[in-house]
């Protein structure tokens, strides 16, 4: 890789205009110290030309949307050119009568939702930091939130993509209709690929109506096993919650947040209370559904991990976290969705203890067919432990996929699973 992006500065200026090439300001991703060049293409065609120029000069590219998740993934082996989608921020088409929308990668989640709300619709996804996170960024990182229990993740909502590949190819896959099986499903392949196969330029989603009514309750349970039981009972009932979230931290009582939406929200709430018996509960504030963001702040330096287990294993892994954190004198906090995907914060002054806890817990999660991925670390922690964990026996195939799409290896080199 060529560490010096200035070799193509002139070429980039001729593609996007001199005013759209400049020095990138920090923060940079972990491990990257040198000043980077920033390029902001204004069209799909410009973006594709930028990628090809970088490929020809062997300059490593770091695609960036809102920059909220730059620290996710391994530290890239090389990063010289930041490719920002900031100027590609249009909502191209809100086909509200067809309940689909096509939007450019640089549009923030919040702005897309505002546009869709004008016709009473939404992208049924509530990812982290919607004011700053972009559509391209949430797709690349496969971020999801509390609505997942009802509406699925991005892979279930995306209908089509346009991407640019390092050789300058602009390609579309999928479509703009809600049903389509023509050709391979590249929208799913690109979702969660962390900018290592190509750069997402625009995407089409299926939409859902905004609910007319919303009710949320928080239950306070005596222990995490009881909270997990109530969660499973709700899942096993005819109730149709649009949010079902478990919050556990240290020695305080576990909380189970439940949300219902739509015309029968109140009636479902009554049936939920019958199901929950005498469990203590309160009306929940809207903020409980955004509490995941609070895990990035703490009293001491800490780690934030994304984990995934089977829903029925949530209590057991929380108990394991409690045991390990107790032994290593770490503070901990978990916010998990009923689909089994959650976030864990571990904090304490001792980095060895943090690394040790991570190692033990990852083994525990992986033994349960789950995973534990590091999202945030204290400064200097990166490099102590693998971010991703066991990639499984499909890694050689993933490597071949990477080699086909990015044979020169210029896109986020090393940042993804298995050093891809």
């Amino acid at each position: 890789m060529n560490p010096q992006p200035r070799v193509i500065a002139n070429e980039l200026q001729s593609i996007v205009g001199a005013e759209h090439v400049r020095e990138a300001e920090p923060p940079y991703p972990p491990g990257v110290v040198m000043p980077l060049l920033l390029v902001e293409p204004g069209s799909a065609e410009e973006l594709a030309l930028v990628l090809r120029a970088a490929r020809d000069a062997q300059v490593a590219v770091l695609p960036r949307g809102g920059g909220t998740k730059l620290e996710w993934g391994n530290a890239p082996r090389s990063a010289a050119l930041v490719l920002s989608t900031r100027r590609l921020d249009r909502v191209i088409d809100h086909a509200w009568a067809d309940m689909t929308a096509t939007v450019e990668a640089g549009c923030t989640v919040a702005r897309l939702q505002e546009t869709l709300a004008q016709h009473g619709q939404r992208l049924a996804l509530d990812p982290l930091w919607p004011e700053r996170a972009t559509i391209g960024g949430i797709l690349a990182t496969n971020d999801s939130g509390t609505l997942r229990v009802r509406f699925g993740a991005l892979r279930d909502l995306i209908l089509g993509v346009m991407v640019a590949l390092p050789d300058g190819t602009l390609a579309k896959s999928g479509g703009r209709v809600v049903k389509n099986v023509a050709g391979y499903d590249l929208p799913k392949l690109f979702t969660g690929s962390l900018g290592t196969l190509g750069v997402i330029i625009q995407a089409t989603f299926r939409l859902y109506p905004l609910p007319r009514e919303t009710h949320s309750l928080s239950f306070s349970l005596e222990d995490v096993a009881a909270a997990n039981r109530l969660m499973l009972a709700v899942l096993d009932s005819p109730l149709a919650p649009t949010g079902l979230q478990l919050r556990v931290a240290g020695e305080s009582s576990p909380q189970l947040d439940v949300r219902f939406e739509g015309v029968a929200a109140a009636a479902q709430m009554r049936r939920l209370l019958a199901l929950a018996g005498d469990a203590e509960h309160t009306e929940a504030a809207l903020e409980v559904w955004a509490l995941r963001e609070s895990l990035w702040q703490g009293q001491e330096p800490g780690l934030v991990c994304k984990f995934s287990v089977l829903p029925a294993d949530l209590a057991a892994v929380c108990e394991e976290i409690r045991r390990v954190a107790g032994r290593l004198r770490l503070r901990w906090s978990v916010i998990a969705q009923a689909v089994g995907v959650g976030l864990l914060r571990l904090e304490g002054p001792n980095q060895e203890a943090l690394a040790a806890a991570l190692g033990v817990l990852r083994a525990e999660f992986e033994a349960r067919a789950g995973s534990l991925v590091l999202l945030h670390t204290p400064p200097d922690f990166h490099g102590r432990i693998d971010v991703w964990g066991d990639p499984g026996d499909a890694l050689p195939l993933m490597r071949r996929v990477k080699e086909q799409f990015d044979p020169a290896g210029i896109l986020n080199p090393g940042r993804f699973v298995g050093g891809l």
């Binding site: 099986v181 005819p238 029968a264 049936r271």
Partner: protein, 482 residues
Amino acid sequence: MDVRIIEAFRAVVGDDGVIVEREQLRTYECDGLTNFRVMPAAVVLPSSGEQVQAIVRICHRAGIPFVARGSGTGLSGGALPVEGGVVIGLARLNRILEVDIPNARVVVEPGVINAQVTQRVAPYGYFYAPDPSSQSVCTIGGNVAENSGGAHCLKYGFTANHVLGLEVVLPDGTLMQLGSKSLDRPGYDLTGVFVGSEGTLGIATKVILRIVKRPQIVQTLLAAFNSTDDAGAAVSEIIAAGILPAAIEMMDRLSRDAAEAAVKAGYPDADGLLLVELDGPVEEVELLMEQVSAICTSCGAWEIRLAQTEEERAVIWKGRKAAFAAMGRISPNYIVQDGVIPRTALPRVLREIERMSAAAGLRVANVFHAGDGNLHPLVLYDQRVPGQEQAAEKLAFDIIRLCVEAGGSITGEHGVGQEKKKYMSAMFAEPDLETMQLVRCAFDPARLANPTKVFPRPRLCAERSGPYQPHPLEVAGIAELF
């Protein structure tokens, strides 16, 4: 086919697992799309994932193309054999391996019949949501290959939304796990790419499915209109009201008459029939069904029936599910198409199909998943009349082109297969198709898995450094191996 290869297959699956007699091979020469037929060189019937792997290895070593097959109900020629190739029939891999109710997961082998999954979990109050019309005979493996939909995918999604992981045998014989029982396994979503790849990326030998809790109540409404235009307007208004039905199906006069003749569902004598199904919590369904009913009335429905019991619902659905087969009663031959259009284009596209039908002098019956814009126009013709088959094929293609021009797709659930690969270029530009085939080059550089399907032209895979190289045909290697 080289007798040593046949012997090698027999060594893996036993004598009763290899078919080479011409008469027996005939069963496998086509799938549900019967106008394409190719005689395979052999059919192999493994009964375990290990046997599948061993057979694929033999094929790979000898450079023999193979086509995986479930029940052969596909409608696009996806399971059509390849000249000189092997058909690997997966019907004997028919075990349900694991039922995990607390986590709503079921692990099955690919030969398990779709409806058996629901039968198995129904006592616990769950069902497997994707419900193609052939669900009583089609296999999960076939559903995975085609990313099958069904009437209820408007609300519940397609096969891809219900497959969480796979064990697959790659075309070079490598066995690996994609995805897992838990969500968001780190790495590329290769499960998502494999589902719907129509047998061109390998063979699934285990499938991890997500099952869904039965809704508290299901209600089905049947509304009769004077035209499909009126019925289409009702569909648009239902969606615009923010109502997401479990299914919305529409039938035109021809389809209605054929279905009625076939199963005597007692349908109203209407030019446009709409079937709307709502499910969910009882309060929600009852309230929204009142709104749906009011919308239908305001759009001109002159008869509305609301099925409340399981029996009443079954009668309404019976005619719809029998619609394709019923065409045999009103026409000797027909072509089923599977185009998708944006819902809003429905009235315009239907009128255009009517015009094209009149111009071609051929009848077109329309049965479709109106909620998601998936049309199934049935072009009726008589093979015995010279020129009519060609005219029907041209009309079918023109209808598909119309769908693409309206912003839609050439296939909503039947797959591209053999039949529609010539249409792919109507929907995708060359760079789009080349980019998709990069996936193929990663999974199957030697192009042995169902090699002639989906894409109009194969992409030549670039040579790569590293441990993986496209396998050359090593005839000498066969002698060594056996």
